[in-house]
Symmetry: C2
Subunit: 191 residues, 2 copies
DNA sequence: GAATTTGTACTGACCGGTCAGTTTAAACGG
DNA sequence: CCGTTTAAACTGACCGGTCAGTACAAATTC
């Protein structure tokens, strides 16, 4: 794959992500994506089989980046804060990807449901391995089912990050991280 | 408004909710909604100004039902469990509404963003008033910002319910409720 | 109390625009 | 050279919205 091709695809990913995140995959036209990327329509069809294939590649690409970051964050600092912070950072950097993901992930028989299930598992399993390590080190309360908790934590972070971007953009990332940690550390009866 | 009209609109809401929840507002056609409801296409345009107007009415209708339930649950039992349980029940009963909401709520300049912001506030403010009561009764740990926590709790419940329906349908509602309560009571370091 | 009018709800064929995808011939670039 | 990109015209299926007409019950008239 030539450097030129890679650059073209990157431009297409950027353009598609922006438009699709904002307005949804179905209502964005191929001509718009081409215009936004500053590329001829034919180029899209030279690089991707169809509009759907472009979006699917975009989903894979985004998840790959997120997974990479989580894995590298994991080696640097294995606390829950670090994981939460890294995810918030990713969503802050790619808000449109969050919007795309949240609007497609739970669409039952959607065209990308198969792909998305696998991608979800990728991320959740990274979160899971991290939580498992914490559990083994006795740094989690007993009785927490690690599998369930990881899925919940991933979903929770996704929506909290979106809510932050859309409804409370004035808050800082540290502030949001603290809120999440507060929620996660316990909203139960005062003790 | 005649009983006949009410019945027709209800059929349209049911049909639209099912299709739009599954496949997204943009990719469902008006003809499909009409067919699913067993009604002529013209009837839709007799009852609603446009496809968008139908979806907006649907959004309002759904939120009205949810708000009503939360308010009545509030009077029966003011614990956090009761609130969580009621919401899970609602999402279990109207999964498609959850899918619709999650895929539109954080769409920044979307056509329904204005309406949805208001509807979000309706729900969040109910959750908030309930949490405030708990805080006043010293049943919440100090330092929890009630406003932030309510928004987070609402979003969290929404995605956990969707994840439940889509990826772990075999779990019972009580099981899921306990997981949520576990998360909410604390995933922090063991104590 | 039959005939007629009125209002409301609904019907479905149809129209015009939109959009994914195709085609082609020519230019570009490493 | 060959893989890639461009520009522009074209196709045809699809879809939101329209509109003339139907159904039918309740009111009105004679």
């Amino acid at each position: 794959m030539s450097a030129r091709t890679t650059a073209t695809r990157q431009k297409l990913f950027d353009a598609a992500l922006k438009l699709v995140g904002e307005r949804g995959a179905a209502s964005v036209t191929v001509d718009e994506i081409a215009a936004e990327a500053g590329v001829a329509k034919g180029t899209i069809y030279y690089n991707f089989a169809s509009k759907d294939a472009l979006v699917e590649a975009l989903l894979r690409h985004g998840v790959e980046i997120l997974a990479g970051r989580l894995r590298s964050a994991e080696t640097a600092d294995d606390s829950l804060e670090a994981l939460v912070d890294e995810m918030l950072g990713f969503w802050a950097e790619y808000p449109a990807f969050g919007q795309l993901l949240v609007s497609e992930l739970w669409r039952t028989p959607g065209q990308w449901h198969g792909t998305l299930s696998l991608l979800r598992d990728d991320i959740v399993s990274i979160v899971k391995s991290q939580m498992k390590r914490l559990a083994d080190a006795d740094r989690l309360p007993d009785g927490v089912e690690v599998g369930t908790a990881s899925a919940a934590l991933f979903g929770t972070l996704l929506v909290i990050a979106l809510d932050w971007q859309v409804f409370q953009p004035e808050r800082s990332r540290a502030e949001v991280r603290e809120s999440v940690m507060h929620l996660v550390r316990g909203l139960g009866p005062a003790r």
